[in-house]
């Protein structure tokens, strides 16, 4: 089995660090990439056609949001798992995530919220 790969997209260094630690303690062999904005994430996608898990923040500096990026990912990575990890817990955001068919995790991140996402991959 090939090595799994995750991309964490969040403008908060602390949250990226927490998600990275939770993933790497649970899945030590995974390769973990990070991006501090959706724009940055979008720009590195061509180099990584093989990402299995995307963890996306919603509100970040730049031109596109986490949900905007998710829309792009849905067509480019049809078999990957996409999770929106956000502090913006308004129904409008939850509903858009639901319509896109992606998972929704309310910040703050904890192992209890992240690990079940890993087990399904």
């Amino acid at each position: 089995m090939s090595q799994k790969k995750a991309l964490i997209v969040d403008d908060s260094t602390v949250t990226r660090l927490m998600i990275r630690k939770i993933i790497s303690e649970n899945q030590p062999n995974w390769e973990i990439l990070e991006a501090e904005s959706a724009d940055k994430a979008k720009s590195i996608l061509p180099d990584h056609p093989d990402i299995d898990l995307f963890s996306l923040d919603q509100n970040m500096p730049g031109t596109i949001s986490g949900l905007d990026l998710a829309e792009i990912l849905k067509s480019n990575y049809p078999n990957s798992k996409i999770v929106l990890v956000t502090a913006n817990i308004q129904d409008a955001i939850k509903n858009r995530a639901k319509d896109l068919g992606i998972d929704f995790v309310e910040k703050p991140v904890t192992p209890e919220k992240i690990i079940p996402m890993l087990e399904k991959i």
């Binding site: 403008d11 602390v14 817990i89 910040k107 703050p108």
Partner: protein, 202 residues
Amino acid sequence: MNYLTELERDSLCELFNISLGGAAKLMSEMISDEILLTVPSLKLITEAEAKNFENLANKDVCTVEQKFVGDIGNGSAFLLFHKSASLEIVKMMMKDYVALNEVSQFEKDALSEIGNIILNAILSNLAKMSNYKIETQIPEFFSGKYEELLLNRNPNTNEDNSILLVFIDYQLKGKEIKGYIFFILNFDSIKNLSRVLIEKLK
């Protein structure tokens, strides 16, 4: 002078108390500790009163500002801690993730994220209860003297009495740490918001 009726004031307190309950839960999740909410925990104060606020006047503070726009009006929400408490909070939040001697490197980022989570939770709850749409922007971190932060952040300082601050404070169990949440909104928006629950009860 702008004022709210007793019923409007009560309804506004209830809106914020409900929203704050969710925010307290999140904060305790983040720092693995129980948050004690002081009830009644909300005051409407004028800008002048806010500037002279007993526990904060002349103090060094850290604050996270979350600007918002939408049906509720345009405004700012602030989460504010005494500078001396901020590192303690970050330690509690980061203790499972980094070594203790590395914690200070993450102070700004960690407090920004706490502010982001808490203020968004409150605003999301307000949006839900009022059926108003609220868009939040990226949170910004500031540190310095309380009065300067408050003055510098208030976009409408020339409009006398047009700004009210909704004040909430909460306390961490067993620690001498207090946090404060301020909302700066113009009076009409506050008045509209206060009528939301009243309308629902009719």
